[in-house]
Amino acid sequence: MAIEDSADQGAAKRETLSLWRRIGRRSELAYLFLRSPPAMIGALLTVLSLGATLFAPWVAPTDPFDLAAYDLLDSLLPPAWAAGGEARFLLGTDDQGRDMLSAILYGARISVLIGGASIAFAAILGVTLGLAAAYLGGWFDHVVMRIADVQLALPAILTALLIDGVARGVLPSESHDRLMIPVLILAIGLSLWVDFARLARASALVERDKDYVQAAEIMGLPAWRIMLSHILPNIAGPILVVLTIDLAVAILLEATLSFLGVGVPADQASLGTLIRIGTAYIFSGEWWIALFPSLALVLMVIAVNLLGDFLRDALNPKLR
């Protein structure tokens, strides 16, 4: 009898465990993770690239933004292992004699910064609006969802390009370079919030009618508190999945905008900018200037996508 009781309690407890409790070392997620080579490769690559970009000032051989540190005489040197390469420049140099490895590390830093900040912005905006739309309903719900409809009529890349273009028209031209990074974060964030809003709304609509929410309402808790500390933890799983997948999208969007020449200014070159500079040299045989930043970018995005795929499969019991 006693044994049966505790088993029942155990089952009940497992069901109410929040996402955060499920992440521990002995959790289901960790169990699945340790049995999924792609997920581990993705995590390893993510940690490596994040580490390399975070600690770029200490890892990189030179500072690519320091004009005094490079010499035009070193320009367009091939990678160290190719004929004519020098050991000082492992991945070769660009047209201004900058060390490609350092430029890539610093460039990835900017890509990660913009990608991360814009996805955080998109997630906070989207989840807040989606939660509020589901919980409050009524006209607020209508307005938010109609705005989402309109935005879905335009693909993210076009939305980001348009916002970028408008910002160029509105902002005084002398402050362009200084403001381009915040503008990019805004543009990418605003083009991706709909994913979060729709997901948060759909998941919250399911939760809203459950007993625990009604219990919280009876206790007289304010709406914001029910949304934030009761509903949000219960819908965090799917949001985390979209967060990871959209992080890859955001990094790609930033790279694309910079590649098109409407992204970050040249003196703060991100990976996309480096690739754009590199394309000019493909035809004359200096392939390394475009190749290495491209590889870095693709590896970074693959890593995030591997993690995203793993989370999606692991957090969705239907797919298992």
């Binding site: 109609r146 409809d149 309109v150 009529a153 335009l154 693909p155 890349i157 076009l158 390009l161 348009l162 970028d164 273009g165 408008v166 160029r168 028209g169 509105v170 890859a248 790609l252 790279a255 694309t256 590649f259 098109l260 020449g261 409407v262 690739i275 590199g278 394309t279 493909i282 035809f283 045989g285 392939w287 475009a290 190749l291 491209s294 970018l297 693709v298 995005v301 693959i302 996508n305 591997l306 795929d309």
Partner: protein, 324 residues
């Protein structure tokens, strides 16, 4: 059924009006149209007269209605940068983009659908794993990196194909086409492939997951139990029921293809609408931006509407739900 269609139509019209309002706001309130049209030395009175003539002093709703009328009658105004009529600029570039988008969509379907079916039917074969691994790379590599890769390989290293421009075109009325000469096809193949890769991976993954889902259903288990041969099970029973989502994706992808044509056109200097839009952003050519916005919005809404109607035609279950 009628009411479903009417509701869908109303939503489309609302979205279209909202996009038009956005384009109007862009055109009217970002920068001063008059200051863009006249030189610095034009007298203030002349500027005021021009403003009055153009109706820029009218209330905003009146101006918006006029804007809607202009758009509906394809009177798109003039570019700030080139001073040419925008309608002509877009019309001369439309065929290039449409042909590029069309060919890349065909490529993505011709490869994506069979490969998706294959990976769903034979999930444990090595070839399936290889295909799926490749799609991960296809999703993770941005369009422009794929384009540069293809240029480096086929254009620079092997020297087989041209790397920029449209090459030789045949003129049919106002439509300049790449599809009738060998040189035109040679110029088209790399950009179309570049643009098609991402859509291909999406199609493949979607067909695969839909097919896997259908294979788990009871009626398929029943078909297996009846002893039907595998060909009939896979194609007559399973694939037919994955068609509806595939139609949606093809429809939605057409929009994606047009959007990403901006990137591909930039890589290959393909003289289409995307390149025009990109230039308009670089030079803050607001009228071109807002017309492009309206046209793309219109195209998207139209495609979505057609997809929804096709859905009703293809899938009797949705029809039944709508009527029931």
């Amino acid at each position: 059924m009628i009411s479903l269609l009417a509701g869908r139509l109303a939503q489309s019209i609302f979205v279209m009006l909202a996009v038009a309002a956005l384009a109007f706001a862009l055109f009217r309130f970002v920068g001063d149209p008059v200051a863009q049209m006249v030189g610095q030395e034009t007298a203030i009175e002349d500027q005021e007269r021009l403003r009055e003539q153009l109706g820029l002093n009218d209330p905003a709703p009146v101006q918006f209605l006029r804007f809607l009328g202009d758009m509906a009658t394809a009177d798109f105004g003039y570019s700030y940068r080139t001073r040419q009529p925008i309608g002509e600029m877009i019309l001369s570039r439309l065929p290039a983009t449409l042909e590029l988008a069309f060919v890349s969509l065909i490529i993505s379907l011709l490869i994506g659908v069979p490969a998706g079916i294959y990976t769903a039917i034979h999930p444990r074969r090595a070839a399936s794993s290889a295909i799926l691994l490749t799609t991960l790379a296809g999703i993770s590599a941005p369009t422009f990196v794929i384009g540069i890769g293809l240029i480096t390989l086929f254009g620079v290293q092997l020297g087989w194909l041209p790397t920029f421009g449209r090459g030789e075109t045949v003129t049919l009325g106002w439509w300049k086409s790449n599809l009738f000469t060998l040189d035109g096809w040679r110029s088209l193949i790399l950009p179309a492939l570049t643009l098609g890769v991402y859509q291909l991976t999406l199609t493949l993954r979607l067909v695969r997951s839909e097919m896997l889902e259908v294979m788990r259903t009871d009626y398929l288990k029943f078909a297996v139990a009846r002893g039907l041969d595998w060909r009939a099970i896979h194609y007559r029973h399973a694939f037919k029921n994955t068609l509806a989502p595939v139609v949606t994706i093809v429809g939605l992808q057409f929009g994606g293809v047009i959007a990403f044509a901006v990137v591909t056109e930039s890589v290959f200097q393909w003289p289409g609408m995307g390149l025009l839009f990109l230039d308009s952003i670089r030079y803050v050519d607001i009228p071109v931006m807002s017309v492009y916005l309206v046209l793309i919005g219109f195209l998207f809404v139209l495609v979505n509407l057609v997809v929804d109607i096709l859905y009703l035609v293809i899938d009797p279950r949705i029809r039944a739900r709508a009527e029931g």
